[in-house]
């Protein structure tokens, strides 16, 4: 359940931004989470509501943009889709591949007032 910690980090980062950018209420939080980042999206949603209570983020909507996994295969010399972090190339079986997307864990943007 490290999703709770991730949610706490999100709230802390937003509170810092509130001080530096001068907003007092957050209406929407948009996150980008890769499918290979080891994050359970449902646990994240559950944790977010719990952690947001009483903070500047209380009551804000949560929008999670999921990023599919892709990796570079040095043998095929092209990008391939992957379902797992340390998967072999689905075309030629080469291992290891170089992950190019899918491990993101970022706050993208906020709608604030």
């Amino acid at each position: 359940m490290h999703e709770i910690s991730l949610c706490e980090s999100v709230v802390q980062l937003i509170e810092e931004q509130a001080r530096s950018q001068g907003f007092r209420k957050v209406r929407l939080v948009r996150l980008e989470i890769g499918r290979l980042a080891g994050v359970e999206i449902e646990a994240m949603r559950f944790g977010f509501d719990a952690v947001a209570k009483g903070s500047i983020v209380d009551g804000a909507g949560l929008d999670i943009v999921e990023v599919p996994g892709t990796a570079w295969c040095p043998r095929c010399q092209r990008r391939v889709g992957v379902q797992l972090r340390f998967e072999a190339c689905p075309d030629c079986g080469h291992l290891p591949l170089e992950l190019t997307a899918g491990d993101e864990m970022r706050i993208l943007e906020l709608e604030v007032e």
Partner: protein, 272 residues
């Protein structure tokens, strides 16, 4: 009391420790409570704010501060990760006993509850502080920063950070260590490196523990190492038994090398 490095309320933190730089009575820090919210005056119109920051940015900031402190003190810090029951604490107490007198060593012990492990560690004469994470399933760099304050580790020492027994969550949280060491006992499945790849990918060393039990098990050592190398081609592997002492000399050699590099100020983080 406010923390001077990060401004957190001291009440959020509960570390039971026997460090030597502190003047207050210490209790277990309970990390069950989240930060308090703050209201800041500002604009009242709705607008979009682009942030584009890694969610772990705060942790990574604390980790980087820990790493700078450790480098300045020429301390080699290891983050020990494993499933519960891998024999991590036994391995650690044997290491502390065997290397006692050769080099200064200190321990930060992480568990959800109790200070049983820190007491076992202190039994060897080593300085130890216990962090209880409460509901948390891993140590984070902020907790470790506070534990370092309490511990006051000696310059040039070897610091073991024993993470909460969990092969999933601790992989994502950098503590400021120079290397993660994954401990896997042969009584566990040889497929674990494939089932929990993030941890084995993040580790610089795999200690395969309890090898004295191999004759009684169907555990395929080569297969297990192959799985670990599949997710991390660079990972070093040492086979040990903390009970019989088999292979422990190679582990100590590895530790001496790591500490030598830290003393020379050459420490570079190993692996991801």
């Amino acid at each position: 009391m406010m923390c001077t490095t990060c401004g957190c309320g001291e009440g959020e933190v509960a570390i039971d420790g026997h460090g030597h730089h502190h003047h207050h009575a210490h209790h277990l820090l309970d990390y069950g409570k989240g930060p308090a919210g703050g209201q800041v005056p500002g604009l009242s119109q709705t607008r979009m704010v682009r942030i584009e920051r890694n969610i772990l940015a705060k942790n990574d900031g604390y980790a980087s501060a820990n790493r700078q402190f450790l480098a300045r003190m020429r301390i080699a810090a290891l983050n020990l990760v494993s499933s519960p029951g891998s024999g991590k604490t036994t391995l650690l107490t044997r290491t502390l006993s065997d290397l006692k007198g050769e080099m200064p060593m200190a321990v930060i012990e992480g568990d959800q509850q109790t200070s049983v492990d820190a007491e076992r560690i202190r039994g060897t004469g080593a300085h130890a502080v216990q962090i209880n994470t409460g509901k948390g399933c891993h140590l984070d760099a902020h907790m470790v920063g506070h534990a370092l304050d309490r511990l006051g580790p000696e310059a040039g020492s070897l610091l073991f950070i024993e993470n909460v027994g969990n092969l999933v969550c601790p992989a994502a949280f950098d503590l400021g260590e120079v290397c993660k060491v994954a401990i896997l006992s042969v009584t566990e499945g040889e497929d674990k490196p494939l089932k929990y790849p993030d941890m084995f990918a993040a580790a610089g060393l795999l200690l395969l523990n309890k090898i004295d039990l191999l004759p009684h098990l169907a555990f395929d050592v080569e297969r297990c190492i192959g799985h670990a190398r599949r997710v991390n081609p660079q990972i070093r592997v040492l086979q040990v038994s903390a009970t019989t002492g088999a292979g422990m000399e190679a582990w100590y050699g590895w530790l001496r090398e790591l500490r030598g590099a830290a003393l020379a100020g050459l420490s570079e983080p190993v692996a991801a």
